[in-house]
């Protein structure tokens, strides 16, 4: 088939150029595509116009010269057979008209000459254009893989700070987008500001040397660089951060270049001090801050809403920013927008989780409070029943023991001692019963305005004997402007008596009992400070439990009753204690309002 076709074509060819080889060669000679005919020794037999132009060598310079020497051929890609056996193709570098080495593809077809020796037809294709395309393609592929790498880094970035760093490192790293400097401005809606948040890059050539020498300590991936990102340069905040902050602008400032660039739908480019794409106002101020009249500003959006501006320049190398640079920066901007949106969501989520946790804690605390008060009321009810049942037998036991003691002539001293023990123990049980019954009968407080200083002094006076007995000195201190409490005077008095008693009991060998009063927001605090034995952590933890006591004669209800009374007043009792140092019990009550004070004061 091939032979027939060949013969067929040959006959057609002959029909076009019967015996007109010269004419054929002249026609080929006028072609702009360079070609040559070589003899068996590779010497040039024919050199067309295209070759003259391409190599800058006239026909007379070329004829008879060895082809490879003539073009200073340097093979780059070895020859490969093409089609039939006679044609080969290889890539090489040839010295061109202006002395530059150009990539070419040589197509060489061996031809049998009439003398039986072989010659060759050599066609040269200029690969400069396709080589540059190839290079651009390779670069684009590399950039896309960088963008992918940056994307992966952004995906795994957990904090907004890390996202900012990744974007900036990506824009400036040598294996990244190779901008000299990059600045990130983020929208701060709450303050109505587009704020310069972060920046990366050297402030001047000198700093560039330091940074780039540090960054170029080879073999590092982008992720390594982000990991290594150190916001401080030699322990100082880099000047670019200061520049970033200077770039900030009010969001409602219509004259601001950065705000216009932020709200633009596409990238704003400034070349030679003029806005060449986009219609932002004069970048005059920004040029002043950046110190360069060429830069790119890519708006970052999430869900179509502008959230930030990524600004990049080549302030150090002054390399012109190409369309490619802009394309790739836009890709980075796209990813940055998404990453920031994700970070925003993550932050929002974290905030919600935190508030949920807080709510759960609050709920648990309330639950504990409810359980505790339910337990207390259940205990209270139970205790009241038990107390009543116990009271009558106690009266009988104690009463008869006392009766017997009234007839001393009937007992010996051992019996008397036993009877006294019975009487004392019954007295103690009766105290418990009494407190239980008080505790199990909560009455709603009758709120009035209570001057706590007077109340505390009265309580100390009432306990004067108990204080003197163990050598405790009591004293009341009042901070200036302490308000009166909104409280039921009787109930609070009862609570304070309980707390003071506890304090005295904690100081069996004497000490100082200080009652300190002061106003707090919406309330008033009474701190009862003793210099007594204090409580261990275990004891402290159980101190407010009903019936818990460390005292041989205690009911374990004093503090519980005080707490319950405080709670009925929307107040609270807090205990702080250090073993061996003393205890501070703080009773907080709502402050009386002016109205309540006036009502009690007849002069007004």
């Amino acid at each position: 088939m091939g032979a027939i076709t060949h013969k067929d074509q040959r006959s057609k060819f002959d029909a076009f150029f019967p015996g007109r080889a010269d004419e054929f060669l002249r026609m080929l000679g006028a072609w702009s595509i360079p070609f040559a005919l070589l003899d068996a020794d590779d010497a040039v037999l024919f050199w067309n116009l295209g070759a003259v132009k391409f190599y800058g060598l006239g026909e007379e310079e070329a004829l008879g010269k060895k082809f490879a020497e003539l073009v200073a051929e340097e093979a780059t890609i070895p020859e490969a057979p093409l089609g039939g056996v006679r044609t080969r193709r290889y890539e090489a570098l040839h010295q061109s008209a202006d002395g530059i080495e150009l990539p070419v593809m040589v197509t060489r077809t061996d031809l049998p000459a009439s003398d039986g020796r072989e010659g060759a037809f050599v066609l040269i294709t200029d690969l400069t254009e396709s080589k540059s395309l190839e290079r651009r393609l390779a670069r684009r592929v590399a950039q896309l893989s960088i963008i992918r790498e940056i994307g992966e880094c952004l995906q795994s970035a957990m904090s907004p700070e890390r996202i900012l760093h990744t974007i900036l490192v990506g824009a400036t790293a040598s294996m990244g987008l190779r901008f000299n400097r990059a600045f990130l401005l983020l929208v701060d809606e709450r303050h109505g500001v587009l704020r310069g948040r972060d920046a990366i890059g050297p402030a001047d050539t000198e700093e560039a040397q330091r940074i780039w020498s540090r960054l170029s300590t080879g073999g590092k991936t982008l992720r390594d660089l982000v990991d290594d990102y150190e916001p401080l340069i030699d322990g100082e905040e880099p000047r670019v951060l200061e520049i970033a902050r200077l770039l900030s602008a009010k969001l409602d400032d219509e004259t601001s270049f950065v705000v216009a660039a932020l709200n633009a739908t596409a990238t704003t480019r400034v070349v030679d001090g003029h806005v060449v794409s986009g219609d932002a106002p004069s970048p005059y101020r920004i040029i002043g801050i950046l110190g360069i009249d060429a830069f790119v500003a890519v708006p970052l959006t999430t869900d179509g809403k502008p959230v930030g501006l990524l600004l990049a320049d080549n302030a150090i190398t002054r390399r012109a920013i190409t369309d490619e640079d802009v394309d790739i920066l836009e890709l980075l901007g796209l990813q940055a927008g998404q990453a920031l949106a994700r970070a925003h969501l993550t932050e929002e989520l974290a905030r919600q989780v935190a508030s949920l946790e807080a709510a759960t804690r609050e709920l648990r605390r309330n639950q504990e409070r409810v359980v505790r008060s339910e337990r207390l009321s259940a205990i209270g009810e139970m205790a009241a029943r038990v107390a009543h049942e116990i009271r009558n037998p106690l009266v009988a036991i104690g009463g008869f023991a006392r009766s017997l003691l009234l007839r001393p002539e009937e007992q010996d001293s051992a019996t008397r001692e036993a009877l006294e023990i019975i009487v004392n123990e019954v007295r103690r049980l009766e105290t418990i019963v009494k407190e239980v019954l008080e505790f199990s009968r909560p009455a709603p407080p009758k709120i009035g305005s209570v001057p706590l200083r007077r109340l505390a002094q009265e309580a100390l006076d009432l306990l004067a004997w108990e204080l003197d007995h163990v050598g405790v000195v009591g004293r009341v201190e009042e901070a200036p402007g302490t308000p009166e409490a909104a409280a039921d005077s009787d109930q609070i008095f009862h609570a304070v008596i309980n707390l003071l008693r506890n304090a005295v009991h904690a100081m069996p060998h004497g000490g100082e009992l200080l009652v300190r009063l002061r106003g707090v927001p919406y309330g008033v605090e009474m701190a009862i400070v003793d210099t007594g034995v204090g409580m261990s952590e275990d004891v402290l933890a159980r101190a407010q439990e009903a019936f818990y006591t460390t005292k041989p004669n205690g009911s374990g209800l004093g503090l519980t009753i005080a707490s319950l009374i405080a709670r009925d007043h929307n107040g609270e009792v807090r205990i702080e204690s250090r073993e061996g140092e003393g205890t501070t019990v703080t009773l907080r009550l709502p402050a009386a309002t002016e109205g309540e004070t006036d009502a009690q004061d007849p002069d007004h």
Partner: protein, 121 residues
């Protein structure tokens, strides 16, 4: 010798109070229920009644108001394990309210006071 009626459902307390008041020089009669007590007020004409509030069958406060209907001048001392009745307005008509205690000192003191003031009038 002034006569005291003790209305108390607890047998041991009846014995205790009887002993204590007799030692203090009173004649003592006792009743275990409100109904029995009301009958004894008629029959024995005591100078003073010491009564518990929670009694089987009839509430002590109810019993007291019936008792006072019949004999408004007789002093009544309420002697209860419950301090809570102290605030009940029914208790106000009693001449004294004493919370039960093994120390009968307070109860005996109030009884002595009331008997003394009655003797004066």
């Amino acid at each position: 010798m002034p006569k005291i009626l003790i209305i108390e459902d607890e047998k041991n307390l009846r014995i205790l109070y009887q002993q204590d008041f007799e030692r203090d020089g009173f004649e003592v009669v006792t009743a275990a229920t409100a109904a029995e007590g009301l009958a004894m007020v008629q029959d024995e004409a005591p100078d003073l009644v010491v009564m518990d509030i929670r009694l089987p069958g009839m509430d002590g406060l109810e019993a007291m108001s019936r008792l006072l209907d019949k004999n408004p001048k007789i002093p009544v001392v309420l002697n209860s394990a419950y301090s809570s009745y102290k605030d009940s307005f029914m208790s106000w008509s009693a001449d004294a309210y004493v919370v039960k205690s093994a120390d009968t000192g307070e109860l005996r003191a109030r009884v002595r006071e009331l008997i003394a003031s009655r003797a004066d009038s």
